[in-house]
C-alpha cells in the first residue's frame, strides 16, 4: 500500500550527538513536511519541501536541518540534540494544494 514510512519508530540519542530521522513516501507527492510534537501539544511545523524548494519556519532552531535527495525521501538532521528536543517527530506528505496530508507513524526521539 502507498504510504509514508518513518524510521526508526523509536530513537534514543545522546545529548549533543547528531541524529538523523528518515521518512519515505511511495505516494509520489510533491510536498513533504516535518512536524515536531511534544507531549499533549499541537504538532509544530519545522519545515517543508515543495518539490526541491525548501521552506524553513522562522522559529525553527538552526540545530534542525533537512534534506530531500529525491521525491520519495526526506531526512531530518538534528546536529546537537538537547534535552528539549525530545519529542515525536512526524513526517507528512501531500499531493497538491487543497488535499489532505498523509502522515507517517512518527519517530519518538529520546535524548539522554
Amino acid at each position: 500500500d502507498a504510504m509514508v514510512i518513518q524510521n526508526p519508530r523509536y530513537q534514543v540519542t545522546q545529548f549533543g550527538k547528531p541524529v538523523t530521522l528518515s521518512c519515505s513516501q511511495t505516494l509520489n507527492h510533491n510536498v513533504m513536511y516535518w512536524y515536531q510534537q511534544k507531549s499533549s501539544q499541537a504538532p509544530k511545523l519545522l519545515f517543508h519541501y515543495y518539490d526541491k524548494d525548501f521552506n524553513n519556519e522562522a522559529d525553527t532552531p538552526d540545530n534542525f536541518q533537512s534534506r530531500r535527495p529525491n521525491t520519495s525521501f526526506c531526512f531530518l538532521d538534528i546536529r546537537s540534540p538537547g534535552l528539549g528536543d525530545a519529542a515525536m517527530y512526524l513526517c507528512a506528505s501531500r499531493l497538491e494544494y487543497n488535499y489532505g496530508y498523509t502522515f507517517g507513524s512518527g519517530t519518538r526521539l529520546t535524548v539522554v
Partner: protein, 114 residues
C-alpha cells in the same frame, strides 16, 4: 502561531452517543481539516472542508464550517470504543497557495466508554 483552538479539551461519552467537537480559528483559511491521533501514533486525515463549503459528510463524520464565525465542528455519530483518540483541527491559511501549510490546534481527547 497556533491557529486552531479546539473545544472542549476533553470529552468522555458512552458508546453509541454522538460526540461533537468544536474548533475556532483566527485568520482567513483555504480549507480546514480534522485529524485523529491514537496514542503514540501518527495523525490520520479524517476530512477536509474547503472555505467555500458549509457542510461535509464522510461515513459517521459530519463537519460544518462557518467562515463568518471562523469556526468548525466535527460530529461523530454512534460513537464506538475504537473512536477513542485525540482529534485535531488544522487550518490551511490563505493566501499561501502551493506552499500552503497546516497549523494545528492542541487537540481534543475523546474517550468512548464501552
Amino acid at each position: 502561531s497556533q491557529q486552531g483552538e479546539e473545544d472542549p479539551q476533553a470529552l468522555s461519552i458512552q458508546e453509541g452517543e454522538n460526540a461533537t467537537m468544536n474548533c475556532s480559528y483566527k485568520t482567513s483559511i483555504n480549507n480546514l481539516q480534522w485529524y485523529r491521533q491514537n496514542s503514540g501514533r501518527g495523525l490520520v486525515h479524517l476530512i477536509l472542508i474547503r472555505s467555500n463549503e458549509r457542510e461535509k459528510h464522510s461515513g459517521r463524520l459530519r463537519v460544518t464550517l462557518d467562515t463568518s464565525k471562523k469556526s468548525s465542528s466535527l460530529l461523530i455519530t454512534a460513537s464506538r470504543a475504537a473512536d477513542t483518540a485525540s482529534y485535531f483541527c488544522a487550518t490551511d491559511q490563505a493566501p499561501t497557495g502551493a506552499n500552503s501549510k497546516l497549523t494545528f490546534g492542541k487537540g481534543i481527547t475523546l474517550s468512548v466508554r464501552p
